[in-house]
Subunit: 203 residues, 2 copies
DNA sequence: CCACTTACATACGTGGCGTATGTCAATGAG
DNA sequence: CTCATTGACATACGCCACGTATGTAAGTGG
Protein backbone atom coordinates (compact mmCIF):
# COMPACT_ATOMS: atom_id res chain seq x y z
CA UNK A 1 0.00 0.00 0.00
CA UNK A 2 2.93 2.27 0.72
CA UNK A 3 0.74 5.15 1.86
CA UNK A 4 1.75 7.01 -1.25
CA UNK A 5 -0.91 9.65 -0.98
CA UNK A 6 0.31 12.58 0.97
CA UNK A 7 -0.32 16.06 -0.32
CA UNK A 8 1.82 17.05 -3.22
CA UNK A 9 3.89 19.76 -1.57
CA UNK A 10 4.86 17.40 1.16
CA UNK A 11 6.16 14.85 -1.31
CA UNK A 12 8.23 17.54 -2.95
CA UNK A 13 9.79 18.69 0.26
CA UNK A 14 10.60 15.09 1.01
CA UNK A 15 12.26 14.61 -2.36
CA UNK A 16 14.32 17.73 -1.95
CA UNK A 17 15.35 16.68 1.52
CA UNK A 18 16.36 13.23 0.33
CA UNK A 19 18.44 14.68 -2.47
CA UNK A 20 20.14 17.15 -0.19
CA UNK A 21 20.87 14.49 2.38
CA UNK A 22 22.32 12.06 -0.14
CA UNK A 23 24.38 14.76 -1.81
CA UNK A 24 25.61 15.96 1.55
CA UNK A 25 26.91 12.51 2.38
CA UNK A 26 28.53 12.14 -1.03
CA UNK A 27 30.13 15.59 -0.99
CA UNK A 28 31.42 15.05 2.52
CA UNK A 29 32.99 11.69 1.80
CA UNK A 30 34.25 11.86 -1.76
CA UNK A 31 34.30 15.60 -2.36
CA UNK A 32 32.36 17.69 -4.81
CA UNK A 33 34.35 16.83 -7.93
CA UNK A 34 34.36 13.10 -7.33
CA UNK A 35 30.73 12.78 -6.34
CA UNK A 36 28.77 11.23 -9.19
CA UNK A 37 25.28 12.58 -9.57
CA UNK A 38 24.07 9.26 -10.90
CA UNK A 39 25.41 7.52 -7.83
CA UNK A 40 24.01 9.61 -5.07
CA UNK A 41 20.66 10.25 -6.72
CA UNK A 42 20.30 6.49 -7.08
CA UNK A 43 21.20 6.14 -3.43
CA UNK A 44 18.27 8.41 -2.69
CA UNK A 45 16.02 6.25 -4.86
CA UNK A 46 15.83 8.89 -7.60
CA UNK A 47 17.54 9.86 -10.82
CA UNK A 48 19.29 12.93 -12.08
CA UNK A 49 16.01 14.10 -13.56
CA UNK A 50 14.76 15.03 -10.11
CA UNK A 51 17.97 16.82 -9.35
CA UNK A 52 17.90 18.99 -12.44
CA UNK A 53 14.25 19.73 -11.90
CA UNK A 54 14.70 21.04 -8.40
CA UNK A 55 18.21 22.46 -8.34
CA UNK A 56 19.10 23.30 -11.92
CA UNK A 57 22.54 21.71 -11.85
CA UNK A 58 25.14 20.12 -9.67
CA UNK A 59 26.31 23.45 -8.34
CA UNK A 60 22.76 24.38 -7.41
CA UNK A 61 22.45 21.29 -5.29
CA UNK A 62 25.78 22.05 -3.69
CA UNK A 63 24.52 25.50 -2.76
CA UNK A 64 21.50 23.95 -1.11
CA UNK A 65 23.67 21.56 0.86
CA UNK A 66 25.93 24.36 1.94
CA UNK A 67 23.01 26.54 2.97
CA UNK A 68 21.75 23.74 5.18
CA UNK A 69 25.09 23.26 6.88
CA UNK A 70 25.57 26.99 7.26
CA UNK A 71 22.25 27.34 8.97
CA UNK A 72 23.01 24.55 11.39
CA UNK A 73 26.30 26.21 12.22
CA UNK A 74 24.68 29.55 12.86
CA UNK A 75 22.08 28.03 15.15
CA UNK A 76 24.75 26.31 17.19
CA UNK A 77 26.85 29.46 17.42
CA UNK A 78 23.93 31.57 18.54
CA UNK A 79 23.02 29.09 21.23
CA UNK A 80 26.55 29.19 22.54
CA UNK A 81 26.93 32.93 22.66
CA UNK A 82 23.50 33.24 24.27
CA UNK A 83 24.55 30.95 27.10
CA UNK A 84 27.54 33.03 28.16
CA UNK A 85 27.39 35.24 31.26
CA UNK A 86 29.16 38.29 29.86
CA UNK A 87 29.28 39.65 26.37
CA UNK A 88 33.02 39.30 26.22
CA UNK A 89 32.80 35.70 27.30
CA UNK A 90 30.12 35.04 24.73
CA UNK A 91 32.33 36.57 22.11
CA UNK A 92 35.20 34.31 23.06
CA UNK A 93 33.04 31.22 23.33
CA UNK A 94 31.47 31.82 19.98
CA UNK A 95 34.77 32.13 18.23
CA UNK A 96 36.25 29.14 19.94
CA UNK A 97 33.18 27.12 19.05
CA UNK A 98 33.73 28.18 15.49
CA UNK A 99 37.21 26.75 15.63
CA UNK A 100 35.95 23.52 17.07
CA UNK A 101 33.21 23.13 14.50
CA UNK A 102 35.79 23.39 11.78
CA UNK A 103 37.25 20.20 13.14
CA UNK A 104 34.31 18.23 11.84
CA UNK A 105 35.28 16.49 8.61
CA UNK A 106 32.04 17.33 6.89
CA UNK A 107 32.50 21.04 7.52
CA UNK A 108 36.14 20.83 6.59
CA UNK A 109 35.47 19.29 3.26
CA UNK A 110 32.26 20.95 2.16
CA UNK A 111 32.47 24.39 3.71
CA UNK A 112 36.18 25.06 3.94
CA UNK A 113 37.64 23.26 0.97
CA UNK A 114 35.17 22.63 -1.84
CA UNK A 115 32.95 25.57 -1.05
CA UNK A 116 35.39 28.30 -2.04
CA UNK A 117 36.45 26.42 -5.16
CA UNK A 118 32.90 25.88 -6.36
CA UNK A 119 31.13 29.02 -5.23
CA UNK A 120 33.95 31.51 -4.85
CA UNK A 121 34.93 33.64 -1.91
CA UNK A 122 33.13 32.58 1.28
CA UNK A 123 32.83 36.18 2.37
CA UNK A 124 30.31 36.63 -0.42
CA UNK A 125 28.04 33.80 0.66
CA UNK A 126 24.82 35.14 2.17
CA UNK A 127 25.20 33.22 5.37
CA UNK A 128 28.89 33.78 5.88
CA UNK A 129 27.99 37.42 5.94
CA UNK A 130 25.39 36.69 8.57
CA UNK A 131 28.00 35.07 10.77
CA UNK A 132 30.41 37.93 10.21
CA UNK A 133 27.66 40.36 11.09
CA UNK A 134 27.10 38.59 14.36
CA UNK A 135 30.76 38.93 15.26
CA UNK A 136 30.78 42.52 14.08
CA UNK A 137 27.74 43.36 16.18
CA UNK A 138 29.40 41.84 19.19
CA UNK A 139 32.51 43.90 18.63
CA UNK A 140 30.51 47.10 18.23
CA UNK A 141 28.72 46.43 21.49
CA UNK A 142 31.98 45.63 23.24
CA UNK A 143 33.47 48.85 21.98
CA UNK A 144 30.42 50.76 23.24
CA UNK A 145 30.93 49.22 26.64
CA UNK A 146 34.48 50.53 26.51
CA UNK A 147 35.89 47.06 26.79
CA UNK A 148 37.78 46.82 23.56
CA UNK A 149 39.94 49.33 21.76
CA UNK A 150 38.70 51.59 19.03
CA UNK A 151 39.09 49.58 15.85
CA UNK A 152 36.99 49.21 12.77
CA UNK A 153 34.63 46.47 13.84
CA UNK A 154 34.00 44.83 10.51
CA UNK A 155 37.65 44.68 9.59
CA UNK A 156 38.47 43.16 12.93
CA UNK A 157 35.64 40.67 12.61
CA UNK A 158 37.05 39.52 9.29
CA UNK A 159 40.52 39.10 10.70
CA UNK A 160 39.23 37.18 13.66
CA UNK A 161 37.15 34.77 11.67
CA UNK A 162 40.09 34.25 9.37
CA UNK A 163 42.27 33.39 12.30
CA UNK A 164 39.62 31.01 13.62
CA UNK A 165 39.27 29.28 10.30
CA UNK A 166 42.94 28.82 9.83
CA UNK A 167 43.39 27.60 13.35
CA UNK A 168 40.71 25.05 12.69
CA UNK A 169 42.43 23.82 9.57
CA UNK A 170 45.64 23.49 11.48
CA UNK A 171 44.05 21.52 14.28
CA UNK A 172 42.11 19.25 11.99
CA UNK A 173 45.20 18.23 10.09
CA UNK A 174 47.61 17.90 12.95
CA UNK A 175 48.72 14.57 14.32
CA UNK A 176 47.33 15.21 17.77
CA UNK A 177 44.24 17.40 17.33
CA UNK A 178 43.54 17.44 21.03
CA UNK A 179 46.88 18.91 22.01
CA UNK A 180 46.97 21.25 19.05
CA UNK A 181 43.50 22.45 19.86
CA UNK A 182 44.60 23.47 23.34
CA UNK A 183 47.54 25.45 21.98
CA UNK A 184 45.39 27.10 19.35
CA UNK A 185 42.64 28.13 21.73
CA UNK A 186 45.22 29.55 24.13
CA UNK A 187 46.87 31.57 21.40
CA UNK A 188 43.51 32.69 20.12
CA UNK A 189 42.51 33.90 23.54
CA UNK A 190 45.76 35.83 23.80
CA UNK A 191 45.16 37.41 20.44
CA UNK A 192 41.69 38.48 21.51
CA UNK A 193 42.87 39.85 24.81
CA UNK A 194 45.21 42.09 22.88
CA UNK A 195 42.09 43.89 21.78
CA UNK A 196 41.06 44.84 25.28
CA UNK A 197 41.87 48.32 26.46
CA UNK A 198 44.94 48.20 28.63
CA UNK A 199 44.35 47.13 32.20
CA UNK A 200 40.87 45.73 31.75
CA UNK A 201 40.33 42.30 33.29
CA UNK A 202 39.55 39.52 30.81
CA UNK A 203 36.29 38.87 32.56
CA UNK B 1 66.71 25.97 -39.51
CA UNK B 2 64.91 26.34 -36.20
CA UNK B 3 68.09 25.50 -34.28
CA UNK B 4 66.44 22.36 -33.03
CA UNK B 5 69.56 20.79 -31.71
CA UNK B 6 70.14 21.80 -28.16
CA UNK B 7 71.14 19.19 -25.63
CA UNK B 8 68.31 16.99 -24.59
CA UNK B 9 67.99 18.01 -20.98
CA UNK B 10 67.58 21.58 -22.08
CA UNK B 11 64.73 20.69 -24.42
CA UNK B 12 63.02 18.86 -21.60
CA UNK B 13 63.26 21.75 -19.23
CA UNK B 14 61.86 23.97 -21.93
CA UNK B 15 58.92 21.65 -22.49
CA UNK B 16 58.17 21.48 -18.81
CA UNK B 17 58.38 25.23 -18.53
CA UNK B 18 56.03 25.72 -21.46
CA UNK B 19 53.51 23.31 -20.02
CA UNK B 20 53.65 24.93 -16.61
CA UNK B 21 53.29 28.39 -18.08
CA UNK B 22 50.32 27.45 -20.25
CA UNK B 23 48.62 25.58 -17.43
CA UNK B 24 49.24 28.47 -15.08
CA UNK B 25 47.45 30.84 -17.41
CA UNK B 26 44.57 28.42 -17.91
CA UNK B 27 44.17 27.66 -14.20
CA UNK B 28 44.29 31.33 -13.35
CA UNK B 29 41.67 32.38 -15.86
CA UNK B 30 39.22 29.49 -16.05
CA UNK B 31 40.01 27.63 -12.85
CA UNK B 32 41.30 24.14 -12.36
CA UNK B 33 38.10 22.26 -13.06
CA UNK B 34 37.26 24.14 -16.23
CA UNK B 35 40.72 24.11 -17.72
CA UNK B 36 40.85 21.59 -20.53
CA UNK B 37 44.13 19.75 -20.82
CA UNK B 38 43.72 19.43 -24.56
CA UNK B 39 43.28 23.17 -24.85
CA UNK B 40 46.21 24.46 -22.91
CA UNK B 41 48.63 21.79 -24.05
CA UNK B 42 47.76 22.75 -27.62
CA UNK B 43 48.32 26.36 -26.71
CA UNK B 44 51.82 25.35 -25.68
CA UNK B 45 52.31 23.57 -28.99
CA UNK B 46 52.11 20.13 -27.41
CA UNK B 47 49.61 17.41 -26.61
CA UNK B 48 48.43 15.68 -23.49
CA UNK B 49 51.03 13.01 -24.09
CA UNK B 50 53.76 15.34 -22.95
CA UNK B 51 51.77 16.31 -19.91
CA UNK B 52 51.19 12.77 -18.75
CA UNK B 53 54.79 11.91 -19.40
CA UNK B 54 56.18 14.69 -17.23
CA UNK B 55 53.55 15.23 -14.58
CA UNK B 56 51.58 12.01 -14.33
CA UNK B 57 48.17 13.62 -14.35
CA UNK B 58 46.33 16.89 -14.19
CA UNK B 59 46.80 17.19 -10.47
CA UNK B 60 50.54 16.65 -10.87
CA UNK B 61 50.78 19.58 -13.22
CA UNK B 62 48.73 21.66 -10.84
CA UNK B 63 51.18 20.88 -8.06
CA UNK B 64 54.03 22.03 -10.27
CA UNK B 65 52.25 25.29 -11.05
CA UNK B 66 51.52 25.86 -7.40
CA UNK B 67 55.09 25.14 -6.40
CA UNK B 68 56.27 27.75 -8.86
CA UNK B 69 53.90 30.39 -7.56
CA UNK B 70 54.70 29.53 -3.97
CA UNK B 71 58.37 29.97 -4.57
CA UNK B 72 57.88 33.34 -6.17
CA UNK B 73 55.81 34.42 -3.20
CA UNK B 74 58.44 33.32 -0.72
CA UNK B 75 61.17 35.17 -2.57
CA UNK B 76 59.15 38.35 -2.55
CA UNK B 77 58.32 38.02 1.12
CA UNK B 78 61.91 37.43 2.10
CA UNK B 79 63.06 40.45 0.16
CA UNK B 80 60.53 42.59 1.95
CA UNK B 81 61.31 41.46 5.46
CA UNK B 82 65.03 41.79 4.75
CA UNK B 83 64.61 45.43 3.78
CA UNK B 84 63.02 46.47 7.06
CA UNK B 85 65.00 48.37 9.68
CA UNK B 86 63.76 46.55 12.79
CA UNK B 87 62.64 43.01 13.23
CA UNK B 88 59.22 44.09 14.37
CA UNK B 89 58.83 46.29 11.33
CA UNK B 90 59.95 43.46 9.08
CA UNK B 91 57.42 41.22 10.73
CA UNK B 92 54.65 43.70 10.05
CA UNK B 93 55.77 44.42 6.51
CA UNK B 94 55.97 40.79 5.65
CA UNK B 95 52.49 40.07 6.83
CA UNK B 96 51.02 43.09 5.14
CA UNK B 97 52.76 42.15 1.93
CA UNK B 98 51.18 38.75 2.27
CA UNK B 99 47.80 40.39 2.41
CA UNK B 100 48.55 42.45 -0.63
CA UNK B 101 49.80 39.53 -2.65
CA UNK B 102 46.56 37.76 -2.01
CA UNK B 103 44.90 40.54 -3.95
CA UNK B 104 46.37 39.27 -7.18
CA UNK B 105 43.74 37.31 -9.10
CA UNK B 106 46.13 34.54 -10.04
CA UNK B 107 47.05 33.91 -6.42
CA UNK B 108 43.45 34.20 -5.37
CA UNK B 109 42.28 31.62 -7.79
CA UNK B 110 45.11 29.12 -7.85
CA UNK B 111 46.53 29.30 -4.35
CA UNK B 112 43.58 30.33 -2.23
CA UNK B 113 40.61 28.77 -3.94
CA UNK B 114 41.45 25.81 -6.13
CA UNK B 115 44.56 24.79 -4.24
CA UNK B 116 42.82 23.61 -1.08
CA UNK B 117 40.09 21.83 -3.05
CA UNK B 118 42.56 19.95 -5.23
CA UNK B 119 45.45 19.31 -2.88
CA UNK B 120 43.87 19.55 0.55
CA UNK B 121 44.79 21.69 3.51
CA UNK B 122 47.34 24.39 2.60
CA UNK B 123 49.06 23.97 5.93
CA UNK B 124 50.26 20.60 4.68
CA UNK B 125 51.87 21.94 1.53
CA UNK B 126 55.66 21.89 1.80
CA UNK B 127 56.06 25.53 1.00
CA UNK B 128 53.18 26.84 3.08
CA UNK B 129 55.03 25.31 5.97
CA UNK B 130 58.14 27.14 4.91
CA UNK B 131 56.29 30.45 5.01
CA UNK B 132 54.75 29.61 8.35
CA UNK B 133 58.18 28.72 9.66
CA UNK B 134 59.47 32.10 8.64
CA UNK B 135 56.74 33.83 10.59
CA UNK B 136 57.26 31.47 13.51
CA UNK B 137 60.99 32.16 13.54
CA UNK B 138 60.30 35.87 13.56
CA UNK B 139 57.97 35.51 16.50
CA UNK B 140 60.44 33.42 18.44
CA UNK B 141 63.12 36.06 17.91
CA UNK B 142 60.73 38.83 18.90
CA UNK B 143 59.84 36.96 22.06
CA UNK B 144 63.55 36.51 22.84
CA UNK B 145 64.02 40.23 22.48
CA UNK B 146 61.24 40.63 25.02
CA UNK B 147 59.15 42.57 22.58
CA UNK B 148 56.13 40.33 22.33
CA UNK B 149 54.26 38.42 24.99
CA UNK B 150 54.91 34.81 25.85
CA UNK B 151 52.73 32.85 23.48
CA UNK B 152 53.22 29.64 21.57
CA UNK B 153 54.90 30.92 18.44
CA UNK B 154 53.67 28.40 15.94
CA UNK B 155 50.07 28.67 17.05
CA UNK B 156 50.25 32.42 16.82
CA UNK B 157 51.88 32.25 13.41
CA UNK B 158 49.00 30.14 12.16
CA UNK B 159 46.42 32.52 13.51
CA UNK B 160 48.19 35.47 11.99
CA UNK B 161 48.51 33.99 8.56
CA UNK B 162 44.88 32.99 8.72
CA UNK B 163 43.91 36.54 9.52
CA UNK B 164 46.07 37.81 6.68
CA UNK B 165 44.57 35.42 4.21
CA UNK B 166 41.05 36.22 5.14
CA UNK B 167 41.73 39.91 5.07
CA UNK B 168 43.08 39.50 1.60
CA UNK B 169 39.98 37.69 0.44
CA UNK B 170 37.86 40.40 1.89
CA UNK B 171 39.80 43.14 0.19
CA UNK B 172 39.93 41.41 -3.15
CA UNK B 173 36.18 40.99 -3.27
CA UNK B 174 35.15 44.33 -1.91
CA UNK B 175 33.79 47.08 -4.10
CA UNK B 176 36.56 49.50 -3.25
CA UNK B 177 39.69 47.42 -2.64
CA UNK B 178 41.78 50.48 -1.99
CA UNK B 179 39.68 51.75 0.88
CA UNK B 180 39.08 48.29 2.26
CA UNK B 181 42.76 47.58 2.15
CA UNK B 182 43.48 50.58 4.33
CA UNK B 183 40.94 49.51 6.91
CA UNK B 184 42.22 45.95 6.88
CA UNK B 185 45.85 46.90 7.28
CA UNK B 186 44.98 49.21 10.13
CA UNK B 187 43.00 46.55 11.93
CA UNK B 188 45.75 44.06 11.27
CA UNK B 189 48.33 46.36 12.76
CA UNK B 190 46.15 46.80 15.82
CA UNK B 191 45.78 43.08 16.17
CA UNK B 192 49.54 42.64 15.99
CA UNK B 193 50.22 45.40 18.47
CA UNK B 194 48.04 43.55 20.92
CA UNK B 195 50.84 41.03 21.02
CA UNK B 196 53.41 43.48 22.28
CA UNK B 197 54.17 43.47 25.98
CA UNK B 198 52.33 46.34 27.60
CA UNK B 199 53.97 49.68 27.26
CA UNK B 200 56.42 48.83 24.52
CA UNK B 201 56.53 51.26 21.65
CA UNK B 202 55.44 49.87 18.28
CA UNK B 203 58.83 50.75 16.84
C1' DC C 1 76.68 1.51 -35.81
C1' DC C 2 73.25 -0.67 -33.27
C1' DA C 3 70.37 -1.78 -29.35
C1' DC C 4 67.95 0.61 -26.12
C1' DT C 5 65.84 4.28 -23.79
C1' DT C 6 63.23 8.41 -23.71
C1' DA C 7 60.08 12.09 -25.12
C1' DC C 8 56.56 12.81 -27.00
C1' DA C 9 51.99 12.02 -30.35
C1' DT C 10 47.93 9.29 -31.64
C1' DA C 11 43.99 6.37 -30.83
C1' DC C 12 40.65 4.53 -27.92
C1' DG C 13 37.51 3.56 -24.06
C1' DT C 14 34.93 5.21 -20.21
C1' DG C 15 32.35 8.04 -17.34
C1' DG C 16 30.08 12.09 -16.08
C1' DC C 17 27.40 16.18 -17.09
C1' DG C 18 23.64 18.65 -19.31
C1' DT C 19 19.54 18.70 -22.31
C1' DA C 20 15.67 17.25 -24.85
C1' DT C 21 11.93 14.43 -24.61
C1' DG C 22 8.56 11.33 -22.66
C1' DT C 23 5.19 9.80 -19.00
C1' DC C 24 2.24 9.62 -15.28
C1' DA C 25 -0.05 11.52 -11.41
C1' DA C 26 -2.05 15.50 -9.07
C1' DT C 27 -4.83 19.61 -9.38
C1' DG C 28 -8.66 22.81 -10.77
C1' DA C 29 -12.52 24.35 -13.64
C1' DG C 30 -16.94 23.48 -15.37
C1' DC D 1 -17.34 13.63 -12.13
C1' DT D 2 -14.44 14.55 -16.10
C1' DC D 3 -11.16 16.44 -18.76
C1' DA D 4 -7.44 19.61 -19.72
C1' DT D 5 -3.36 21.31 -17.83
C1' DT D 6 0.49 21.64 -15.05
C1' DG D 7 4.23 19.85 -12.69
C1' DA D 8 7.39 16.12 -10.94
C1' DC D 9 9.95 13.18 -12.18
C1' DA D 10 12.38 9.24 -15.52
C1' DT D 11 14.62 8.00 -19.90
C1' DA D 12 17.56 8.63 -23.79
C1' DC D 13 21.02 10.93 -26.17
C1' DG D 14 25.26 13.60 -27.33
C1' DC D 15 29.35 15.76 -25.97
C1' DC D 16 33.40 16.60 -23.70
C1' DA D 17 37.19 15.52 -20.82
C1' DC D 18 40.20 12.52 -18.57
C1' DG D 19 43.25 8.54 -18.43
C1' DT D 20 45.63 4.67 -20.74
C1' DA D 21 47.54 1.86 -24.15
C1' DT D 22 50.11 1.97 -28.09
C1' DG D 23 53.02 3.88 -31.72
C1' DT D 24 57.17 6.52 -33.41
C1' DA D 25 61.09 9.08 -34.00
C1' DA D 26 65.01 11.05 -32.02
C1' DG D 27 68.72 10.83 -28.88
C1' DT D 28 72.26 8.14 -26.22
C1' DG D 29 75.79 4.66 -24.63
C1' DG D 30 78.61 0.90 -25.76
Amino acid sequence: MKAAHKPRSEMIAETRAKLIAAARRAFATTGYANASMDDFTAEAGLTRGALYHHFGDKKGLFEAVLAQIDQEMCVRLNEISARAKTRWQGFLDENIAYVEMALEPEIQRIVLRDGPAVLGDPAQWPNANACISAITANLVALKAEGLVRDIDAEAMARLISGASLYAAQWIANSEDPGATSIKAVKAFRALMEGLLVAGKPAS
